[in-house]
Protein backbone atom coordinates (compact mmCIF):
# COMPACT_ATOMS: atom_id res chain seq x y z
CA UNK A 1 0.00 0.00 0.00
CA UNK A 2 1.08 3.54 -0.70
CA UNK A 3 3.82 2.24 -2.95
CA UNK A 4 3.87 5.01 -5.49
CA UNK A 5 6.88 4.50 -7.75
CA UNK A 6 6.92 8.22 -8.45
CA UNK A 7 7.85 9.01 -4.88
CA UNK A 8 11.40 7.96 -5.69
CA UNK A 9 13.63 10.77 -4.54
CA UNK A 10 15.00 12.51 -7.60
CA UNK A 11 15.19 16.05 -6.26
CA UNK A 12 17.85 16.91 -3.68
CA UNK A 13 16.11 17.43 -0.34
CA UNK A 14 17.86 20.76 0.06
CA UNK A 15 16.03 22.08 -2.96
CA UNK A 16 12.55 21.06 -1.85
CA UNK A 17 10.87 24.29 -0.98
CA UNK A 18 7.49 25.22 0.38
CA UNK A 19 5.03 26.80 -2.03
CA UNK A 20 6.54 25.05 -5.04
CA UNK A 21 5.33 22.09 -7.10
CA UNK A 22 7.78 19.35 -7.97
CA UNK A 23 7.70 16.79 -10.72
CA UNK A 24 10.18 13.89 -10.75
CA UNK A 25 12.93 13.98 -13.34
CA UNK A 26 12.05 11.89 -16.36
CA UNK A 27 14.72 9.50 -17.58
CA UNK A 28 14.81 8.58 -21.27
CA UNK A 29 13.57 5.00 -20.92
CA UNK A 30 13.13 2.66 -23.87
CA UNK A 31 10.38 4.29 -25.95
CA UNK A 32 7.42 2.49 -27.51
CA UNK A 33 7.83 1.19 -30.99
CA UNK A 34 6.78 4.09 -33.27
CA UNK A 35 3.64 2.25 -34.44
CA UNK A 36 2.40 1.78 -30.90
CA UNK A 37 3.61 5.22 -29.78
CA UNK A 38 1.48 6.94 -32.40
CA UNK A 39 -1.65 5.09 -31.39
CA UNK A 40 -0.99 5.81 -27.72
CA UNK A 41 -0.18 9.52 -28.18
CA UNK A 42 3.26 9.29 -26.55
CA UNK A 43 6.57 7.55 -27.12
CA UNK A 44 7.07 7.21 -23.34
CA UNK A 45 5.48 4.16 -21.64
CA UNK A 46 5.85 5.92 -18.27
CA UNK A 47 3.70 8.82 -19.46
CA UNK A 48 1.02 6.66 -21.10
CA UNK A 49 -1.89 7.47 -18.79
CA UNK A 50 -5.12 6.94 -20.72
CA UNK A 51 -8.66 7.82 -19.78
CA UNK A 52 -10.72 5.05 -18.12
CA UNK A 53 -7.83 2.62 -17.87
CA UNK A 54 -7.82 1.59 -21.50
CA UNK A 55 -5.27 -1.05 -22.46
CA UNK A 56 -2.54 -0.48 -24.99
CA UNK A 57 -3.56 -1.97 -28.30
CA UNK A 58 -1.50 -2.33 -31.44
CA UNK A 59 -3.03 -0.04 -33.99
CA UNK A 60 -2.75 0.88 -37.66
CA UNK A 61 -1.51 -2.58 -38.63
CA UNK A 62 -4.32 -2.73 -41.19
CA UNK A 63 -3.63 0.73 -42.55
CA UNK A 64 0.11 0.82 -42.70
CA UNK A 65 0.01 3.27 -45.51
CA UNK A 66 2.67 5.74 -46.47
CA UNK A 67 1.07 8.70 -44.81
CA UNK A 68 0.61 6.67 -41.66
CA UNK A 69 4.35 6.11 -41.58
CA UNK A 70 5.08 9.78 -42.22
CA UNK A 71 2.80 10.69 -39.32
CA UNK A 72 4.23 8.04 -37.05
CA UNK A 73 7.87 9.07 -37.48
CA UNK A 74 6.99 12.74 -37.42
CA UNK A 75 5.16 12.19 -34.16
CA UNK A 76 8.14 10.40 -32.63
CA UNK A 77 10.24 13.40 -33.69
CA UNK A 78 7.81 15.94 -32.19
CA UNK A 79 7.89 14.06 -28.92
CA UNK A 80 11.65 13.58 -28.69
CA UNK A 81 12.29 17.19 -29.74
CA UNK A 82 10.19 18.46 -26.83
CA UNK A 83 12.05 16.06 -24.52
CA UNK A 84 15.44 17.19 -25.83
CA UNK A 85 14.51 20.84 -25.30
CA UNK A 86 14.55 20.07 -21.60
CA UNK A 87 17.32 17.42 -21.64
CA UNK A 88 19.72 18.77 -24.28
CA UNK A 89 22.58 16.40 -23.43
CA UNK A 90 20.72 13.10 -23.13
CA UNK A 91 22.68 10.63 -25.29
CA UNK A 92 19.85 8.10 -25.66
CA UNK A 93 17.39 10.78 -26.73
CA UNK A 94 19.89 12.25 -29.22
CA UNK A 95 20.42 8.82 -30.73
CA UNK A 96 16.66 8.25 -30.94
CA UNK A 97 16.26 11.64 -32.64
CA UNK A 98 18.74 10.68 -35.34
CA UNK A 99 17.05 7.32 -35.94
CA UNK A 100 13.60 8.87 -36.22
CA UNK A 101 14.79 11.65 -38.50
CA UNK A 102 16.29 9.15 -40.90
CA UNK A 103 13.08 7.10 -40.84
CA UNK A 104 10.95 10.22 -41.33
CA UNK A 105 12.98 11.48 -44.29
CA UNK A 106 12.63 8.12 -45.98
CA UNK A 107 8.88 7.84 -45.34
CA UNK A 108 8.23 11.42 -46.45
CA UNK A 109 10.20 10.93 -49.67
CA UNK A 110 8.27 7.74 -50.46
CA UNK A 111 4.95 9.46 -49.78
CA UNK A 112 5.78 12.51 -51.87
CA UNK A 113 6.98 10.38 -54.79
CA UNK A 114 3.65 8.59 -54.87
CA UNK A 115 1.06 11.11 -53.70
CA UNK A 116 2.42 14.62 -54.12
CA UNK A 117 3.86 17.32 -51.94
CA UNK A 118 3.58 17.57 -48.17
CA UNK A 119 4.91 21.13 -48.21
CA UNK A 120 4.74 23.94 -50.76
CA UNK A 121 8.50 23.65 -51.26
CA UNK A 122 8.28 20.08 -52.52
CA UNK A 123 6.00 20.67 -55.51
CA UNK A 124 6.92 18.95 -58.76
CA UNK A 125 6.14 21.53 -61.46
CA UNK A 126 6.83 19.29 -64.45
CA UNK A 127 3.11 18.76 -65.03
CA UNK A 128 2.71 22.48 -65.65
CA UNK A 129 0.17 22.62 -62.82
CA UNK A 130 0.49 23.89 -59.24
CA UNK A 131 -0.46 20.65 -57.46
CA UNK A 132 -0.13 22.15 -53.96
CA UNK A 133 -3.74 23.37 -54.07
CA UNK A 134 -5.22 20.10 -55.28
CA UNK A 135 -7.93 18.58 -53.06
CA UNK A 136 -8.27 17.04 -50.61
CA UNK A 137 -6.97 19.34 -47.90
CA UNK A 138 -6.15 17.70 -44.56
CA UNK A 139 -9.34 18.66 -42.72
CA UNK A 140 -11.53 17.10 -45.40
CA UNK A 141 -10.96 13.62 -44.04
CA UNK A 142 -10.02 11.94 -47.29
CA UNK A 143 -6.28 12.20 -47.25
CA UNK A 144 -5.54 8.52 -46.79
Amino acid sequence: MNKNPQTKESIPAGLLSLAMAFVPTQEFDTPYDPVLAFSRGTIFPALDKPFLGEEAVPAMTDKAKLLGRVRMYDFALVEVIEYLDGHPDNAAALKYYNEMRTAFDKAAAEYEDAFGPLTAREVDTRSGHWTWIDDPWPWEGAED
Binding site: I11, P12, G14, L15, S17, L18, A19, M20, A21, F22, V23, P24, T25, Q26, F38, R40, G41, T42, F44, L47, D48, K49, P50, F51, L52, E54, L67, G68, V70, R71, D74, F75, V78, E79, I81, E82, Y83, D85, G86, H87, P88, P117, L118, T119, A120, R121, W132, W137, P138, W139, E140, G141, A142, E143, D144
Partner: protein
Protein backbone atom coordinates in the same frame (compact mmCIF):
# COMPACT_ATOMS: atom_id res chain seq x y z
CA UNK B 1 8.55 31.92 -39.03
CA UNK B 2 6.42 28.85 -39.62
CA UNK B 3 5.70 26.47 -42.47
CA UNK B 4 2.70 24.27 -43.21
CA UNK B 5 2.61 20.51 -43.68
CA UNK B 6 -0.36 19.42 -45.76
CA UNK B 7 -1.50 16.72 -43.35
CA UNK B 8 -2.98 16.40 -39.88
CA UNK B 9 -0.81 15.31 -36.96
CA UNK B 10 -3.26 12.44 -36.30
CA UNK B 11 -5.92 11.31 -38.79
CA UNK B 12 -9.48 12.64 -38.53
CA UNK B 13 -11.93 10.69 -40.65
CA UNK B 14 -15.53 10.91 -39.46
CA UNK B 15 -18.22 8.93 -41.26
CA UNK B 16 -21.35 10.21 -39.52
CA UNK B 17 -22.09 13.95 -39.17
CA UNK B 18 -23.38 14.90 -35.72
CA UNK B 19 -24.07 18.58 -34.99
CA UNK B 20 -24.68 17.87 -31.30
CA UNK B 21 -21.16 16.50 -30.94
CA UNK B 22 -19.71 19.37 -33.01
CA UNK B 23 -21.31 21.81 -30.61
CA UNK B 24 -19.32 20.48 -27.64
CA UNK B 25 -16.06 19.56 -29.39
CA UNK B 26 -15.71 23.16 -30.61
CA UNK B 27 -14.86 24.15 -27.03
CA UNK B 28 -11.41 22.66 -27.56
CA UNK B 29 -10.93 25.11 -30.43
CA UNK B 30 -12.15 28.37 -28.90
CA UNK B 31 -13.17 27.54 -25.33
CA UNK B 32 -11.41 28.67 -22.15
CA UNK B 33 -9.05 25.65 -22.13
CA UNK B 34 -8.92 25.01 -25.88
CA UNK B 35 -6.05 24.54 -28.30
CA UNK B 36 -6.10 28.07 -29.75
CA UNK B 37 -5.56 29.51 -26.28
CA UNK B 38 -2.94 26.87 -25.52
CA UNK B 39 -0.92 27.82 -28.58
CA UNK B 40 -1.23 31.54 -27.96
CA UNK B 41 -0.27 31.08 -24.31
CA UNK B 42 3.00 29.28 -25.11
CA UNK B 43 3.96 31.34 -28.12
CA UNK B 44 3.41 34.65 -26.35
CA UNK B 45 4.97 33.66 -23.04
CA UNK B 46 8.27 32.44 -24.51
CA UNK B 47 9.77 35.93 -24.94
CA UNK B 48 9.98 36.39 -21.17
CA UNK B 49 11.76 33.07 -20.61
CA UNK B 50 15.30 33.44 -19.29
CA UNK B 51 16.51 29.89 -20.01
CA UNK B 52 17.28 28.33 -23.38
CA UNK B 53 15.52 25.09 -22.40
CA UNK B 54 12.32 27.01 -21.60
CA UNK B 55 12.49 28.98 -24.84
CA UNK B 56 12.81 25.72 -26.75
CA UNK B 57 10.01 23.91 -24.94
CA UNK B 58 7.55 26.81 -25.24
CA UNK B 59 8.33 27.27 -28.93
CA UNK B 60 7.94 23.60 -29.81
CA UNK B 61 4.88 22.87 -27.66
CA UNK B 62 3.22 26.09 -28.88
CA UNK B 63 3.81 24.91 -32.42
CA UNK B 64 2.38 21.47 -31.70
CA UNK B 65 -0.72 23.13 -30.23
CA UNK B 66 -1.34 24.76 -33.64
CA UNK B 67 -1.52 21.26 -35.12
CA UNK B 68 -3.99 20.28 -32.40
CA UNK B 69 -6.11 23.31 -33.24
CA UNK B 70 -6.27 22.09 -36.83
CA UNK B 71 -7.35 18.61 -35.68
CA UNK B 72 -10.20 20.03 -33.59
CA UNK B 73 -11.30 22.24 -36.49
CA UNK B 74 -11.22 19.20 -38.77
CA UNK B 75 -13.44 17.26 -36.34
CA UNK B 76 -15.98 20.08 -36.17
CA UNK B 77 -15.85 20.55 -39.94
CA UNK B 78 -16.47 16.88 -40.64
CA UNK B 79 -19.22 16.60 -38.02
CA UNK B 80 -21.19 19.41 -39.69
CA UNK B 81 -21.01 18.35 -43.31
CA UNK B 82 -24.19 17.72 -45.35
CA UNK B 83 -26.64 18.59 -42.59
CA UNK B 84 -30.36 19.06 -43.23
CA UNK B 85 -32.26 21.92 -41.54
CA UNK B 86 -34.00 19.26 -39.43
CA UNK B 87 -30.68 17.81 -38.21
CA UNK B 88 -29.45 21.31 -37.40
CA UNK B 89 -32.53 22.04 -35.28
CA UNK B 90 -32.71 18.65 -33.61
CA UNK B 91 -29.00 18.71 -32.82
CA UNK B 92 -29.27 22.07 -31.11
CA UNK B 93 -26.90 23.51 -33.71
CA UNK B 94 -29.33 26.20 -34.86
CA UNK B 95 -27.94 28.95 -32.63
CA UNK B 96 -24.43 28.42 -34.04
CA UNK B 97 -25.76 27.98 -37.57
CA UNK B 98 -27.60 31.28 -37.65
CA UNK B 99 -24.39 33.19 -36.85
CA UNK B 100 -21.76 31.13 -38.66
CA UNK B 101 -23.58 28.69 -41.00
CA UNK B 102 -21.12 25.78 -40.85
CA UNK B 103 -18.00 27.94 -40.89
CA UNK B 104 -15.42 27.21 -38.21
CA UNK B 105 -15.49 29.92 -35.53
CA UNK B 106 -13.49 29.69 -32.30
CA UNK B 107 -15.98 29.68 -29.47
CA UNK B 108 -16.72 27.69 -26.34
CA UNK B 109 -19.40 25.00 -26.07
CA UNK B 110 -21.64 27.60 -24.46
CA UNK B 111 -21.17 29.98 -27.39
CA UNK B 112 -18.73 32.49 -25.90
CA UNK B 113 -16.25 33.67 -28.57
CA UNK B 114 -12.56 32.90 -27.96
CA UNK B 115 -10.78 35.55 -25.95
CA UNK B 116 -7.17 36.26 -25.04
CA UNK B 117 -8.59 36.85 -21.57
CA UNK B 118 -8.57 33.04 -21.14
CA UNK B 119 -4.78 33.06 -20.70
CA UNK B 120 -2.02 35.11 -19.19
CA UNK B 121 1.41 36.23 -20.27
CA UNK B 122 2.68 37.71 -17.05
CA UNK B 123 6.34 38.29 -17.87
CA UNK B 124 7.33 36.31 -14.79
CA UNK B 125 8.70 32.89 -15.76
CA UNK B 126 7.51 31.14 -12.61
CA UNK B 127 4.01 32.54 -12.86
CA UNK B 128 3.77 31.72 -16.56
CA UNK B 129 5.07 28.16 -16.23
CA UNK B 130 2.68 27.34 -13.42
CA UNK B 131 -0.15 28.69 -15.54
CA UNK B 132 0.99 26.37 -18.34
CA UNK B 133 0.89 23.36 -16.05
CA UNK B 134 -2.59 24.24 -14.84
CA UNK B 135 -3.71 24.82 -18.42
CA UNK B 136 -2.59 21.33 -19.48
CA UNK B 137 -4.64 19.81 -16.67
CA UNK B 138 -7.69 21.93 -17.52
CA UNK B 139 -7.45 20.82 -21.14
CA UNK B 140 -7.05 17.19 -20.02
CA UNK B 141 -10.23 17.44 -17.93
CA UNK B 142 -12.07 18.94 -20.89
CA UNK B 143 -11.01 15.95 -23.02
CA UNK B 144 -12.12 13.63 -20.19
CA UNK B 145 -15.53 15.29 -20.25
CA UNK B 146 -15.81 15.04 -24.03
CA UNK B 147 -14.92 11.33 -23.85
CA UNK B 148 -17.64 10.89 -21.21
CA UNK B 149 -20.21 12.35 -23.60
CA UNK B 150 -19.14 11.03 -27.02
CA UNK B 151 -19.64 7.45 -28.24
CA UNK B 152 -18.53 7.66 -31.88
CA UNK B 153 -15.11 5.94 -32.18
CA UNK B 154 -14.25 8.13 -35.20
CA UNK B 155 -14.39 11.13 -32.87
CA UNK B 156 -13.03 9.43 -29.75
CA UNK B 157 -9.74 8.25 -31.30
CA UNK B 158 -8.36 11.72 -32.14
CA UNK B 159 -9.70 13.07 -28.83
CA UNK B 160 -7.86 10.32 -26.92
CA UNK B 161 -4.66 11.16 -28.78
CA UNK B 162 -5.04 14.85 -27.93
CA UNK B 163 -5.80 14.06 -24.30
CA UNK B 164 -2.58 12.08 -23.95
CA UNK B 165 -0.63 15.02 -25.39
CA UNK B 166 -1.91 17.12 -22.47
CA UNK B 167 -0.51 14.55 -20.04
CA UNK B 168 2.90 14.61 -21.74
CA UNK B 169 3.03 18.39 -22.00
CA UNK B 170 2.23 18.68 -18.32
CA UNK B 171 5.25 16.55 -17.59
CA UNK B 172 7.48 18.64 -19.83
CA UNK B 173 7.13 21.15 -16.99
CA UNK B 174 9.56 18.97 -15.05
CA UNK B 175 12.57 20.78 -16.46
CA UNK B 176 10.89 24.13 -16.33
CA UNK B 177 10.19 23.64 -12.62
CA UNK B 178 13.78 22.66 -11.96
CA UNK B 179 14.97 25.80 -13.67
CA UNK B 180 12.47 27.98 -11.89
CA UNK B 181 13.58 26.95 -8.46
CA UNK B 182 16.81 28.81 -9.04
CA UNK B 183 14.88 32.02 -9.35
CA UNK B 184 12.27 31.17 -6.81
CA UNK B 185 14.52 30.36 -3.87
CA UNK B 186 16.11 33.80 -3.51
CA UNK B 187 12.69 35.34 -3.85
CA UNK B 188 11.16 33.37 -0.99
CA UNK B 189 14.07 34.16 1.28
CA UNK B 190 14.11 37.86 0.54
CA UNK B 191 13.26 39.78 3.68
CA UNK B 192 14.88 43.16 2.91
CA UNK B 193 15.36 45.62 0.12
CA UNK B 194 18.67 44.14 -1.04
CA UNK B 195 19.94 40.57 -1.26
CA UNK B 196 20.32 39.75 2.38
CA UNK B 197 23.05 37.61 3.84
CA UNK B 198 20.60 34.76 4.17
CA UNK B 199 19.49 35.11 0.56
CA UNK B 200 23.09 35.16 -0.52
CA UNK B 201 23.66 31.98 1.49
CA UNK B 202 20.71 30.47 -0.33
CA UNK B 203 22.28 31.22 -3.69
CA UNK B 204 25.58 29.78 -2.58
CA UNK B 205 23.74 26.70 -1.36
CA UNK B 206 22.04 26.34 -4.73
CA UNK B 207 25.36 26.63 -6.49
CA UNK B 208 26.60 23.67 -4.49
CA UNK B 209 23.44 21.62 -5.06
CA UNK B 210 23.07 22.13 -8.80
CA UNK B 211 26.40 23.30 -10.17
CA UNK B 212 25.48 22.73 -13.82
CA UNK B 213 22.43 24.94 -13.65
CA UNK B 214 24.15 27.62 -11.67
CA UNK B 215 27.10 27.64 -14.00
CA UNK B 216 24.62 28.48 -16.71
CA UNK B 217 23.03 30.98 -14.42
CA UNK B 218 26.26 32.66 -13.43
CA UNK B 219 27.74 32.86 -16.92
CA UNK B 220 24.79 34.45 -18.63
CA UNK B 221 24.22 38.13 -18.22
CA UNK B 222 20.50 37.86 -18.84
CA UNK B 223 20.14 35.23 -16.13
CA UNK B 224 22.04 37.30 -13.63
CA UNK B 225 19.75 40.13 -14.52
CA UNK B 226 16.73 37.96 -13.92
CA UNK B 227 17.87 36.92 -10.48
CA UNK B 228 18.70 40.51 -9.64
CA UNK B 229 15.33 41.64 -10.91
CA UNK B 230 13.65 39.22 -8.57
CA UNK B 231 15.24 40.91 -5.61
CA UNK B 232 14.33 44.36 -6.75
CA UNK B 233 10.91 43.36 -7.87
CA UNK B 234 10.03 42.11 -4.42
CA UNK B 235 11.40 45.11 -2.63
CA UNK B 236 8.76 46.41 -0.25
Amino acid sequence: MWSYDKRLQFPVKIKNPNPQTAKIVISQLGGPDGELGASMRYLNQRYAMPYKECKGILTDIGTEELAHMEMISAIVYQLTRNLTPEQIKEGGFDAYFVDHTTGIYPQSASGVPWSAATFQSKGDPITDLFEDMAAEQKARTTYDNLLRLIDDPDVREPLKFLREREVVHFHRSETRCALCRIIWMPRTTMPTTRPSTSAQREITHLQEMVPDRLLFCANTASIQGTVQNKFEHFTM
